[in-house]
Symmetry: C2
Subunit: 293 residues, 2 copies
């Protein structure tokens, strides 16, 4: 029997550090809740992987967050939300376990704001899925959607170059494919860091939409209608887990989270599962596999 007084953190997961830009907005709206963030940075980016493998990874991340006491998991990653959310919901969610994504909220808000033509920037995998366009069409079939893959933007942010000339040129190149849109959706958790550069390039009449604040509003609403998925005595705490190099993750995290993260805990892939592991940084030179314990 679970302890009814035990704290229930809200789980948030992304393929890497980017989802911390979503967590930042969630914590603004829900400052008293406890959050548990998992960045699967050891296996990021998911974009180039076989779809079956993306599903495996997403399952493992969701399972780990549930095992750590979460009852609700927010899939902050647009790529995972676009291709794997339904699978996760059908195989992992149930009476006391729910999984929410970001694609439908993003589509809802964009449809509310648009005058008729929405532009969407995302990873190659997200755009290829066409899930955002499909969700918009369900809400309003008359709205036009142009989805453009911008595979260089996340690596530019990862490199810390989001304010430079390279970022500006890349944004110009991608936005040139989005002429005529009246609303632009940032369909990747890395892109809010490019807001400054995008605002320089974007015509002033185009509305720029980071879905994270609206995702947060929707979550507040959802939690009000679904008691027991957070609380009962949260203390505004945050735990952060990463499957990659924890020191690199920590260095990167503050830019996304807007504040210093707590010490990052390391989880590693072992026999197809994510497990806690003390070893968060990597050896130098040729690597020989350790015997299985």
């Amino acid at each position: 029997m679970p302890n009814p007084d035990a704290n229930v953190p809200l789980g948030v997961f992304d393929s890497g550090v980017g989802g911390l830009s979503v967590l930042r907005e969630l914590r603004k709206r829900l400052p008293h809740e406890d959050f548990l963030y998992l960045g699967d940075s050891g296996r990021a980016p998911y974009g180039g992987r076989d779809l079956a493998t993306v599903l495996d990874f997403a399952e493992q991340c969701v399972d780990l967050l549930f095992a750590e006491g979460c009852r609700l998991v927010i899939v902050a990653c647009h790529t995972v939300s676009s291709v794997a959310l339904r699978h996760l919901q059908q195989t992992r969610a149930g009476e006391g376990r729910r999984i929410l994504g970001v694609t439908i909220p993003a589509a809802e808000q964009a449809v509310t704001l648009t005058k008729g033509h929405i532009g969407f920037l995302g990873t190659r995998r997200t755009v290829a899925s066409h899930t955002f366009g499909t969700e918009v069409a369900k809400l309003d079939a008359k709205v036009r959607v142009t989805e453009v893959a911008a595979p260089l933007l996340a690596p530019i942010v990862e490199e810390g170059w989001e304010e430079g000339e390279i970022a500006k040129l890349a944004v110009e190149q991608y936005l040139a494919e989005l002429k005529g849109v009246d609303t632009l959706v940032l369909g990747c958790t890395h892109y809010p860091l490019l807001r400054g550069v995008i605002e320089q390039v974007l015509p002033p009449e185009v509305q720029l939409l980071d879905p994270a604040p609206y995702v947060s509003d929707r979550l507040v609403d959802w939690l009000g209608r679904h008691p027991g998925f957070a609380g009962p005595q949260p203390e505004g705490r945050l735990r952060v887990l990463s499957s990659g190099d924890t020191s690199r993750f920590s260095r990167n995290a503050a830019r996304f989270l807007g504040t210093e993260p707590p010490p990052v805990e390391h989880v590693a892939e072992l026999g197809g599962r994510l497990v806690f592991s003390p070893e968060g940084s990597e050896p130098v030179g040729q690597f020989m596999r350790q015997p299985e314990r």
Copy 2:
């Protein structure tokens, strides 16, 4: 018993399409040999993955090439050569099976050419391993080596922007960290496509070294000393396998190979192994896992 008259292709593997730039040089020097190329693009880039996972992937790739009749596998990928070559050689090579990498040839040639200070550009993982510097030190401890991670360069080439302003600015930024070197080693199979831009930025007195032609010379020499690892009746044929989206791989391949590739065959990850699979392109929308057959 293997058929002694059967053709023995030379196996070449890389995490993605980049190794075709090495294959191009190998085929120039060995135009009559048969080659079998495997690009593990469905799981690329390897750079961000746990080292244990990189080892798993590399093992699977080598096993597949051996299973397809190769007796020699050339690890074209600098990342894999830097961290996993020794493991592969100790666990996969033997009497009739050999595995060669690119790091030691690159170090040999750089030491021959340098006046005392070698610069090396590579992926984050390659540079973190410091394997290139270690190999140079074994050859000549007096030579200075500066290794710089250039994580944005491969994505720029993947995007097809290797001749533009973005490429030039990124190269300038990375080369600024390599002031004072007299020789620059291109330590990633994507970088030869940036040669034009690098030559614009690099001071004229610095020698630019793509290791692939020297790797090819060393291979010709090795094959002369080790009969039976290629031939016996090669016809200059080429097969190309990819674990990712085959149509995208094909579109990208010609830029690296310098000529149109043959139809790309698809292999997929199934139960932790790479197996041939007819499905080379990806479905649209939410993806539900098929029941295991």
